[in-house]
């Protein structure tokens, strides 16, 4: 909770005003019985209408004041709680955006989503309630005890003894409930996760007729959520009957002890009545406490979950002495690089050394699982290497500011991920400042312009979350356009032409050749490697061979084998025939 309270400090003044208004209301509430008593005793009983008028007027005046205070309090309380929620969400989101992928490994997306919405809402509601009613209950309890003391100290002692017992009990419940509510929130994460998976994989689920299976899975996780919620709520709900019992027991004691005191003439009957009355009032106030307990223990659990995210150190940051240079040429050097994913012992890349000259087109070829995609993630420094060095323009990667480094890199992922928005927005996503002309140019280079012009609203056509109405190849080309619009110095393409047909791919490669940037392409196609200046052949994270197509044909038997397999007999025959 220590992480959460500071979020309230910017609203000190508003909180102060809200609390003062609440106290004002409370004061009116406390004075009311006196005014009413006055009206009854001095007015009605004395049959004096003028007193009724006068004090009736005072009562209405007070109520109007209380009403005004209450309404104004509403404004301040919602301002504080909503802005508090707003700030936490903002801070959390900023933090999450600064996360490295190692950090993401710790928090699954579904859990982060719950924390950013559901958990913040819990906290927000707690603040709102605190500012409006929560303080009332404790104040009423304390006030009642004090007044009881004033009436008769000996009798009031009974209440004083029961109060610490109740407080201790409440603290105990709160601690336990906090733990249970933490589990509840974790179950919410789980429900969220199943839901997310189902939404992402809906085609597969429908295709394989697995709706029934998924329903069972969801049923299970939502049942677990239900059980945990029931358990937590039941624990909390136990407090009310028990507090009731304790307070009622103390009333019994007051009555019994009172009768002794009255007999001994140390207390008047009126005293007993008054103390019993205060005890009843306390009971009422304490039952509100049940609700407070619930809200607070829930808020505590949510607060901790939020703090957990905020306290996670971001392990991939700019070095303090990061220089302010940008990539100028775009040469890439790997120097004895070894890398394994966090929390995994398996070295995905082992002692890898190679260099790609500025402006070259390099192709990375390798079997499934040979570490190609991993290698790509190291260049924009999504992860830090375990050993060795990566250099761009002869500068070590970590000496770049992350932003400068990535600003100059265009990345086309294997699975084209598009965002909700128009085609234009999706391309401009690569560079906010791109003019429409530049967007169009990028689209033309990426061979997607004609397709876009065929769409109903052309560049303004809206795309769904995954841009589903586009085919795989169209999505790929759109994400290529997104990378090109940045005019990057280094272009990384992770098998990004897999869904393109040969003709389109050939045209695309031709266009890329015009660009003055270093291009690195992961590929399986010999047609691509042939059009490259430099080829890296990877196997299980190690460099097997490198060189130009011609070099490799002679130096690498594996490369030769791949070439043969792709060309097939027919082509070889044709080649022979044409000779």
């Amino acid at each position: 909770m220590k992480r959460i309270f500071p979020f309230l400090t910017p609203y000190k003044i508003a909180i102060f005003i809200a609390l003062s208004l609440m106290l004002m209301e409370l004061a009116v509430e406390l004075v009311q019985p006196l005014i009413i008593a006055k009206i009854i005793d001095d007015g009605i009983l004395q049959q004096d209408l003028s007193v009724v008028f006068r004090w009736g007027g005072v009562l209405i005046g007070c109520s109007i004041a209380a009403f005004a205070a209450g309404v104004t309090n509403s404004f301040y309380s919602s301002h504080v709680s909503q802005s508090f929620g707003f700030d936490i969400r903002k801070t959390l989101y900023d933090k999450v955006q600064a996360f490295s992928f190692t950090n993401f490994g710790r928090f699954p997306a579904s859990s982060l989503i719950t924390r950013l919405t559901n958990d913040v809402t819990m906290l927000q509601n707690t603040v709102f309630m605190s500012l409006r009613i929560m303080m009332r209950a404790p104040l009423l309890v304390i006030g009642s005890v004090i007044l009881a003391f004033v009436v008769n100290a000996r009798l009031a002692l009974v209440l004083v003894i029961s109060v610490p017992v109740i407080i201790f009990f409440l603290l105990f419940i709160m601690k336990k409930a906090g733990k249970l509510f933490k589990m509840v929130q974790e179950r919410v994460d789980q429900v969220n996760k199943v839901m997310q998976e189902n939404l992402v994989g809906i085609r597969l689920i429908k295709a394989f007729l697995r709706a029934g299976y998924e329903m069972k899975r969801f049923r299970k996780s939502s049942q677990e959520l239900m059980e945990k919620t029931v358990k937590a709520l039941r624990l909390v709900e136990v407090t009310m009957p028990i507090i009731l019992l304790l307070m009622n027991a103390s009333i019994l004691v007051v009555l019994w002890y009172g009768s002794i005191e009255v007999t001994a003439d140390r207390a008047s009957v009126g005293d007993v009545v008054a103390v019993v009355n205060y005890a009843t009032r306390m009971t009422g106030a304490l039952s509100i406490v049940t609700m407070i307990i619930m809200v607070f223990s829930r808020a505590k659990a949510s607060g901790n979950r939020i703090a957990e995210v905020l306290e996670t150190p971001v392990d991939l940051v700019d070095r303090e002495a990061s220089d302010n240079y940008a990539i100028k040429q775009g040469s890439i050097t790997f120097d004895d690089v070894t890398f394994s994913y966090p929390e995994s012992d398996e070295q995905v890349i082992r002692n890898l050394s190679f260099s790609i000259k500025a402006g070259q087109r390099a192709a990375i070829l390798g079997a499934t699982g040979s570490g190609k995609s991993t290698l790509f993630q190291l260049i924009p420094r999504l992860y830090d290497v375990d050993k060795g060095e990566i250099r761009i323009d002869h500068q070590e990667l970590t000496s770049f500011k992350l932003e400068n480094l990535r600003q100059q890199i265009g990345f086309v992922p294997q699975e084209a991920m598009l965002f909700t928005g128009s085609v234009k927005e999706n391309i401009a996503w690569g560079d906010d400042k791109a003019s429409f002309e530049e967007i169009k140019e990028a689209a033309m280079r990426a061979q997607i312009h004609d397709t876009i012009m065929d769409l109903p609203k052309q560049y303004d056509t809206q795309l769904g979350q995954k841009g589903v109405n586009l085919s795989g190849g169209q999505k790929q080309r759109l994400s290529i356009a997104r990378a090109l619009v940045r005019k990057p110095k280094i272009l990384l393409m992770d098998d990004s032409t897999s869904a393109l047909d040969m003709k389109t791919e050939a045209k695309l490669l031709e266009q890329l050749a015009d660009l003055s940037c270093t291009t690195v392409m992961i590929t399986q196609k010999i047609s691509t490697t042939m059009a490259s200046d430099h080829i890296l052949l990877l196997d299980e994270g190690e460099l097997l061979a490198e060189g130009s197509h011609q070099d490799l044909l002679t130096s690498s038997t594996l490369y030769l084998k791949i070439v043969e397999s792709q060309i097939g007999k027919e082509a070889l025959n044709l080649v022979q025939r044409s000779n």
């Binding site: 009403f67 996760k193 085609r203 394989f208 009555l255 007999t263 990345f411 050939a506 044909l553």
Partner: protein, 614 residues
């Protein structure tokens, strides 16, 4: 300091119409506010627990009457025993009181225990109902929605319902009970004064109406904004890799802030207005008290014997009690509104039209030979475009049909129609001579297996992911399928082999390996119709050779539809259909298409030419 003090009054206000407009967006033509309808639906779920619910109400009755009886007996005890110093009588009374208190606590405990269960059961039923309904919705529904927005309905909106149901039912019942009790006593004391007291109700009604007219909408706007924020978070989290490599963090943070701001605005007004309710009730309460005191006083003074002083004093006390349950009810009404706002968003989805239900005469088919025919099929995703036009072809059982054509020519769409993810606009798709509309979807799909473009993996072990193809498969069968798909070799190299856990984001497993797994999944499914959608395009050549073997074996005896880009992988196909702009422009087998010297031959030659450069 002053700035901070006036901030709460600087939030932008929207008119009711504006909010309605915002809330309606993306909801279709349905009525914006259907409070009672939604409430009825919630009641429908609650009423599944009628027995328990009546037990709860019984407990509320018991605890409420004990709560009244206790103070009454205490008062009696003080008068009769303490004043008279009758110790025996007092002790007897104390015992009775102890029992009453115990019963009170027990009843309160029971009502809470049961109500928690009923409420959570209801929430559970609604939540799973929503989820199950989602699975009945057609694919186009999912194509148009943000995932995170839908997720918000399952968690955030249901949370609203949950927290309301827990407390509201008990509160409402006990408030009504107290109200009825108080009004009876008041009527008994003085019908005239009661009438005056009740006069406050219209004022309450109009006040409440004014407030709830706003809060109802505002709550809904708040939930909608929360949903949109959720959607944005989800989308940007799953696109994290791109955001990072494009270093667009600042941009998404700015966009997030906009949505966050919207949520704050809606939340602020919803909360502010809902905060008015208790204040208004309190105010009216005091007002009515003053009026009663005044009129009552005048009546007493008039001395016509209509109202005596004694009656007046008791009445004044009761009139204070009268407004308390009303106050509680008003507050509950408010929470109810927020629950309804949440529930309405849940029911919105449940009201979405299901994937068109199987036609009445739709049948189960136990086996399919695998003869597939498209006859004059036309289809468009959006109204004003043509995705497919007049597609006709026929595949005999066991044949392989390959689709070739530039990206976007409609190859994937054909597959979508074949599996009835979408329905044709014109023409018919037939299997074994039957229109597939006459076959139950589940039955149809159970005879098909897919290797789709996105080889999606679930969080779980590799074994579980392969078994997804056929849930009843034994471990041996799973491993055999992996063997056939040539996936076994890489799986065996993993630390825990088949029991290695996979993450949703697929960390630690390459794209190629994912495809191998989804091929294994299809092999395990053992279908009569096989659909391969660009399945082999990103697997390295060495593995691809092995895959080709496995696929050849698998495709034998099954009707297969293949979308592939490297022509040599489909040369052995029985039919090759060349698509362009949604039409079939060429068809035939490899040899005849080459002879034709058309689009296919061009494509083929351009590939060959590249190879010949060697």
């Amino acid at each position: 300091m002053f700035k901070e003090a006036i901030k709460p009054f600087q939030y932008k206000r929207r008119s009711i119409q504006e909010i309605d407009q915002l809330n309606e967006r993306g909801r279709g033509k349905k009525k914006a506010q259907d409070f009672s309808g939604t409430l009825k639906k919630i009641w429908f779920y609650l009423s599944m627990h009628k027995l328990k619910l009546s037990l709860v109400i019984l407990m509320v009755v018991i605890s409420s009457s004990m709560a009244l009886l206790g103070p009454f007996l205490v008062g009696m005890g003080i008068d009769d025993y303490i004043v008279n110093q009758d110790t025996d009588g007092l002790i007897r009374l104390l015992w009775i009181l102890a029992i009453i208190y115990a019963v009170h606590s027990l009843a309160a405990w029971f009502q809470a225990m049961w109500m928690v269960r009923i409420a959570q059961d209801t929430v559970f039923t609604m939540r799973t109902g929503l989820f199950n309904h989602l699975h009945k919705l057609p694919i186009p529904f999912f194509d148009k929605r943000q995932h995170g927005e839908l997720m918000s309905r399952v968690t955030n909106d249901m949370e609203n319902v949950s927290s309301t149901l827990n407390s509201s039912v008990i509160q409402i019942v006990s408030s009504i009970l107290t109200l009825v009790g108080t009004v009876s006593v008041m009527l008994y004391l003085s019908p005239l004064l009661t009438l005056i007291t009740v006069l406050v109700i219209p004022a309450m009604y109009f006040g409440l109406k004014w407030i709830t007219k706003r809060t109802g909408r505002l709550f809904k706007e708040q939930q909608r904004n929360l949903g949109e924020l959720n959607g944005y978070i989800q989308e940007t989290l799953s696109g994290q890799r791109i955001i990072k490599t494009f270093s667009q963090e600042k941009k998404v943070i700015a966009q997030f802030k906009e949505r966050n701001e919207q949520l704050r605005l809606a939340g602020f007004w919803a909360q502010t207005f809902s905060g008015f309710i208790p204040k208004l009730m309190n105010f009216l309460n005091n007002l009515s008290f003053a009026v009663i005191a005044l009129i009552g006083g005048m009546l007493v003074l008039n001395g016509e014997g209509v109202v005596t002083i004694g009656v007046m004093v008791i009445f004044v006390e009761y009139s204070r009690q009268f407004t308390r349950p009303l106050n509680d009810l008003a507050n509950q009404f408010n929470t109810l509104l927020s629950a309804v706002a949440g529930a309405e968003r849940v029911f919105d989805i449940m009201n979405e039209k299901e994937e068109r239900r199987d036609e009445d005469e739709a049948i189960e088919v136990n086996s399919l030979n695998g003869q597939v025919e498209f006859s004059h099929v036309s289809f468009a995703y959006e109204k004003d475009e043509d995705t497919l036009t007049d597609i006709s072809f026929k595949a005999e059982p066991g044949e392989t049909v390959a689709f070739v054509g530039p990206t976007g020519a409609g190859k994937t769409t054909i597959i979508n129609l074949l599996s009835r993810f979408y329905d044709v606009n014109d023409g018919a798709v037939k299997m074994d001579g039957k229109d597939i509309k006459t076959i139950k979807r589940s039955s149809l799909r159970s005879h098909m297996a897919f290797v789709l473009q996105d080889s999606f993996l679930f969080e779980g072990t590799i074994r579980e992911n392969i078994r997804y193809g056929r849930l009843t498969a034994t471990d041996e069968e799973v491993e055999k399928a992996a063997e056939l798909a040539n996936a076994a070799s890489f799986i065996r190299k993993m630390p825990k082999q088949f029991d290695t856990l996979l993450q949703v984001d697929g960390q630690g497993i390459s794209q190629g390996q994912r495809q191998l797994l989804s091929i294994a999944r299809a092999i395990l499914a053992d279908p009569s119709i096989l659909v391969l959608d660009e399945a082999t395009s990103s697997i390295d050549t060495i593995t691809e050779i092995k895959i080709q073997e496995a696929l050849q074996r698998l495709m034998k005896g099954r009707t297969s539809f293949v979308i592939a880009h490297r022509l040599n992988t489909i040369q052995s196909a029985d039919q090759i259909l060349v698509l362009q702009h949604g039409r079939i422009i060429e068809r035939g087998d490899h040899q005849s298409l080459i002879k034709k010297k058309g689009f296919y031959a061009d494509l083929h030659n351009s590939q060959l030419r590249e190879k010949m450069i060697l």
